[in-house]
Symmetry: C2
Subunit: 311 residues, 2 copies
């Protein structure tokens, strides 16, 4: 897959529904994914907001099988595959490549802290070599507030030199625009696709040759985010950005975003099953849920597409 | 297993040898474990210094099978079983219980940061209930410098109330004696066994009704640590503690301890295969190795038992 045909734009780290016994609910998962696809939203399934690391490798592969089996185009998929161990990462990555996914979003191994770039380079090298498939496209995942192990520009430079056709982009969830800008300035011209981890930086990213955004908020606000992605050169782009920020604030300022997103889907699809999370996360309390619903009503949040699909 | 017969004393988070292809080397692993057992050292296999999280669940279970298959007494085993996901944690824990292990050392789920005690309580509860075996004994593992997710006294209090026969102790690798003391003062009298994560706190721990230590250094210095564990009430206990600290400093002040421990075993067993680590960790450089060897010679470090076994 050359640069011209790579996956770009808006992707959602798809939230994962769980059944009462906490097993993954593949029916609701596929439903939600299809709705996102219908809104031109790519699927970065098995990300941080997907509770991917609260699932086993087999559970993740089972959901991906269900998704592709349901006819979702793998060219719209960038599943997360980065685990703490090389063999698990290789297994998930090879499985995604075999399915023809556009790419994989790869966390660094995140148990040991303060590891060297040399150690991370060796980790990613082992994965690339063991997967051993020319179709592999890796997007490295920089999310220091959660993983606590980050991806430096030095590491990316070294990976690009050794694996120029494999390491093709990143998701920057540092929440630090200066960091995103550094990667854009250093690598965007060579075809390295930088996705911001929050749509709050989408306009800035597009103005600096970025590739789009992979944002949890896209689970519920994909249409509006997609619109700014397409219209970022139009006169009202900053207004659009501001409106995106208002929705994001309603979802994240008072609550942990993940349970708030699930609650939002539960509210707008009238399906309380969606509120469930796996420990160690905790769903919103009834009171928080009511407060969230009121906040969303107040800003005129519209998610009718989701309502239609899930009812 | 009632309190009187529980595993106590000195345990080693056993370092894991890897073959040239980075697969676990079960022969060297079993050899090293048998040597530790011969020195009255219990085995907290699959801990932080075992690179447990750099291995898959299957690799860990394979090594435990090899160990028990080789005749090592399960009553001397406290394997690490805590993963980010509930199903992986349950699988490893049930496997250890089935083997008759004395207990399991359980990390909290460590991907999400800033999680609540409520979320952690739900996680441990799910694990206890799903394993559903009255033989299960859990030692919670507090290692905030690495896991970045800690175990509070409030959480332990709640777990003890709900699962008094299951949650029986902890390993405190905070490196903060005040924290260890807090747990000792709150829970030791009720039979909750507190192990320090470093032998630097062994004497203090024993003077405060602690249960012993689970320290990486025991991989190479088990005899001396064991001696202080047995003789902590003798007149020379503080001198013994000081001597332990000298060895620990030689192994950890200039280097990351894990590769330094492996290098030490490689030096004293004349077996360079032992130096290998899995990425993202990196082995000591040749120069660091020479410096470590010189430092150990200088302090008169003696590991002849290991030499004899591995040659």
């Amino acid at each position: 897959m050359d640069s011209a045909t790579r996956i770009r734009g808006v992707l959602a780290p798809v939230v994962t529904p769980f059944k009462p016994d906490l097993s993954p609910d593949s029916v609701r998962f596929v439903d939600h994914c299809k709705w996102l696809i219908s809104q031109n939203c790519g699927l970065a399934a098995f990300g941080t907001n997907s509770e991917a690391n609260s699932m086993t490798a087999d559970e993740r592969m089972g959901l991906l099988d269900a998704l592709v089996g349901a006819g979702v185009d793998p060219a719209r998929l960038m599943p997360g595959t980065g685990c703490c161990s090389i063999p698990d990462t290789v297994k998930l990555t090879a499985h995604a490549v075999k399915h023809g996914c556009a790419g994989v979003l790869m966390l660094p191994p995140f148990y040991y802290k303060g590891v060297s770039d040399e150690g991370l380079f060796r980790h990613f090298s082992e994965v690339v070599q063991r997967v051993g498939d020319s179709r592999l496209r890796i997007y490295v995942y920089h999310i220091p507030p959660v993983a606590m192990v980050g991806i430096t520009a030095t590491l990316v430079e070294r990976l690009l030199k050794k694996y120029p056709t494999v390491v093709v982009g990143m998701k920057d969830s540092s929440g630090d625009w200066k960091n995103t800008k550094l990667f854009l300035d250093n690598f965007a011209k060579t075809g390295f696709d930088v996705f911001t981890g929050s749509e709050a930086f989408l306009l800035a990213n597009m103005r600096n040759s970025g590739a789009g955004t992979i944002s949890a908020t896209a689970n519920v606000n994909a249409v509006a985010i997609q619109r700014l992605y397409l219209e970022w050169q139009q006169a009202n782009a900053e207004q659009q950005q501001e409106q995106l920020n208002v929705v994001r604030a309603a979802l994240s300022h008072k609550y942990l975003m993940l349970p708030a997103l699930k609650k939002t889907i539960a509210i707008y699809s009238n399906d309380p099953e969606w509120t469930r999370v796996r420990p160690p996360l905790v769903e919103l309390t009834a009171q928080q849920g009511e407060s969230l619903a009121a906040d969303l009503r107040q800003i005129g949040f519209n998610m009718s597409g989701l309502c239609g699909l899930h009812q």
